[in-house]
């Protein structure tokens, strides 16, 4: 199935829950309502025609300083799906605001979501509702803040021992 057909399929199945679709440089994207994301992911995995059996990546983007998007929802959580059987890909996105940075977890669908969601929480401070093990993944527990947020200065130091700068 080519990317445009996948997006059409998602739109016809979920209607208004698919907020927006676009294609750029051969990559097809659907922006999905937060409440519907788990249903959309499940549909993508279980529908035979789509057959997305792999959650190849889950990450986020902070749009705080993105030219022209400073006022919109601050974060996008980005899911990259791949189908081994059909050899096609799709990108799904969920937009969330900073003061309500909570997305339903996908751990029940793919176990790899466990670590990937932990990393997004660690790096961006987006929480995943229902996550079984919501610890940081890369940083240590005492770390304050979320380093990949655009308002986290790159030169801030948080040494565990020694003087705090």
């Amino acid at each position: 199935m080519d990317g445009a057909a996948i997006l059409e399929r998602l739109q016809s199945r979920f209607g208004a829950a698919v907020v927006e679709t676009h294609a750029h440089r051969g990559g097809h994207t659907a922006v999905v309502e937060r409440a519907a994301i788990v249903d959309v992911l499940r549909f993508c995995r279980d529908e035979a025609e789509l057959g997305f059996d792999m959650l190849s990546d889950l990450t986020a983007v902070d749009f705080l300083k993105f030219h022209g998007r400073e006022d919109g929802p601050r974060f996008e959580v980005v899911y990259h799906l791949y189908s081994l059987a059909h050899n096609h890909r799709v990108r799904l996105k969920v937009r969330v605001d900073e003061d309500d940075a909570l997305v339903p977890t996908a751990v029940s669908l793919w176990p790899i979501a466990n670590w990937l969601e932990r990393e997004v929480w660690d790096m961006f401070g987006i929480r995943f509702d229902g996550h079984p093990d919501p610890r940081r993944l890369l940083m240590y527990d005492e770390f304050v803040g979320h380093p990949l947020r655009k308002d986290y200065p790159i030169n801030r130091r948080q040494p565990l021992i020694g003087p705090k700068i």
Partner: protein, 456 residues
């Protein structure tokens, strides 16, 4: 009759399933068998791992954050340090992701160079993985043999890039330099030596009773679980799934060479070993075919003039003595072979807004100097239109993906690396739970954890 428990196998009939008192053992982060720095907190019942918690992040150095503060090409040295056993693949994959975002095509010769150098790197990576994990099982000879073979290949890498490890050879829009003279002959010699080593290792390990006892049936993961954990690369092919990005989405020159996607059905450590051993041969096959069919041929210098020492060339250019320099070939130091102007056009995309001009042009003409400055100065440089792109290539450990987002500026808005060894590490506890603690060593070795790309 009740099934014999593992406890009974070890301690005799009637030993039951265990005492119920688990011992918690923390392995790492500084443990000799942890290949760098990760920590496994294992709950042990006797020698059996009941539950394991894998902690990572000890090598986190903010790769993704660092990429956001420099220009698009400034991330290249950081990508070297992702998978430091096969850094060339990271270089090229990142460069290709940015090229996809820019919508430019690199030259055919560059595609072939990327293919050849990636395959040489893949052999290096597999040699290191198999060598190191056999060493931990006591096969020290194998380690020495394989590191010897890797040395032959690293000499090739050094010839091309000028460095052995932190090579920074890829560029957005091309590569740093063309292949040096006589490269094909050197590759032929190095591959011959590597094949001899692989043959020796096959005779030492494949079928070796001690080795097989430690590897067969150990650390196995089912096909369903491997896919659910998004594991790719040799570990996925070891459960019989013929997924290889080189075949599924051919990039560079992979659609013009013949190779076999090696699979094994069992999914245990031994299957992973067999896949890696067979893949090395396939990689060498790809590199040989690509070298034989590579377009470009010899470098044709179609102008006359005396050769000049590169340092003197730069000095004169800086003093403004540029008259006549433009057409003068420079003699380059061995490590910078292939950086001269005729080579430049063949390995770099024809796009002045992306690719730095060759040094002769930069120092020899005002247009070249302006072109160079426009790409280097802050606020100028490479400026992909706002948008996003995901590019996947087959790293030595599996699908190496780069997701790049641009806001139209001269620096990446977001660079996300999909590290190929994160999914197997997330599933590591599934491979070691229920097995003996000694089995952790070959299993962890077969995962080929590379701290640089795992922790970024």
């Amino acid at each position: 009759m009740a099934e014999t428990t593992r406890h009974e196998i070890m301690l005799g009939e009637g030993a039951g399933t265990g005492t119920g008192q688990d011992l918690q053992l923390g392995m790492g982060p500084a443990h000799p068998a942890m290949h760098g720095i990760i920590r496994i907190v294992a709950d042990l019942d006797g020698e059996i791992i009941r539950k394991a918690d894998v902690e990572i992040g000890y090598l986190h150095r903010a790769f993704e954050k660092d990429c956001e503060v420099g220009g698009w090409n400034n991330a290249i040295p950081y990508t070297d340090r992702l998978n430091y056993v096969s850094p060339l693949i990271n270089n090229f994959a990142y460069a290709s992701a940015v090229e996809k975002l820019l919508g430019i095509e690199v030259t055919e010769r560059c595609n072939y160079i990327r293919t050849i150098m990636s395959e040489i790197s893949r052999v290096c990576d597999h040699l290191t993985c198999v060598g190191a994990s056999s060493m931990e099982l006591g096969a020290f000879t194998v380690f020495l043999y394989m590191i010897k073979a890797r040395e032959f290949l690293w000499e090739l890498v050094e010839d091309v890039t000028g460095a052995r490890l932190t090579i920074s050879y890829g560029r957005v829009g091309g590569v740093k330099a063309d292949l040096p003279d006589g490269f094909e002959a050197k590759v032929r010699t190095a591959f011959k030596q590597t094949r001899e080593v692989l043959d020796e290792v096959h005779r030492l390990l494949t079928g070796n009773r001690i080795f097989m006892d430690r590897m067969v049936g150990v650390g196995a993961l089912s096909r369903e679980e491997t896919i659910a954990y998004a594991i790719t690369g040799p570990l996925l092919r070891a459960v019989g799934v013929p997924y290889d990005v080189r075949r599924a989405a051919p990039h560079w020159a992979y659609d013009r060479v013949d190779f076999e996607v090696v699979t094994q059905p069992d999914g245990d450590n031994y299957a992973r070993y067999l896949v890696r051993m067979a893949e090395m041969e396939q990689s060498m096959r790809i590199a040989e075919q690509a070298l034989a069919t590579m377009p470009g041929g010899a470098i044709n210098v179609d102008f006359e003039g005396r050769a000049i020492d590169p340092a003197a060339y730069v000095d004169q250019g800086k003093q403004g003595k540029t008259e006549g320099l433009l057409l003068m070939p420079i003699r380059l130091s061995p490590n910078l072979q292939g950086q001269n102007k005729p080579a430049w056009d063949r390995v770099n995309a024809d796009d002045k807004s992306v690719v730095l001009p060759p040094k002769e042009t930069t120092y020899g003409s005002i247009e070249g100097l302006m072109n160079h400055f426009m790409l280097i100065m802050e606020g100028y440089g490479i400026r992909p239109p706002a948008g996003e792109a995901y590019f996947a290539s087959e790293g030595a450990n599996g699908e190496l993906g780069f997701y790049v987002v641009s806001d139209g500026g001269d620096r990446p808005y977001r660079v996300r690396c999909r590290p190929p060894c994160l999914p197997p590490m997330a599933a590591l506890h599934r491979m070691i739970e229920g097995e003996m603690i000694a089995d952790l060593i070959p299993t962890f070795g077969s995962v080929n954890m590379i701290g640089g790309e795992l922790d970024r």
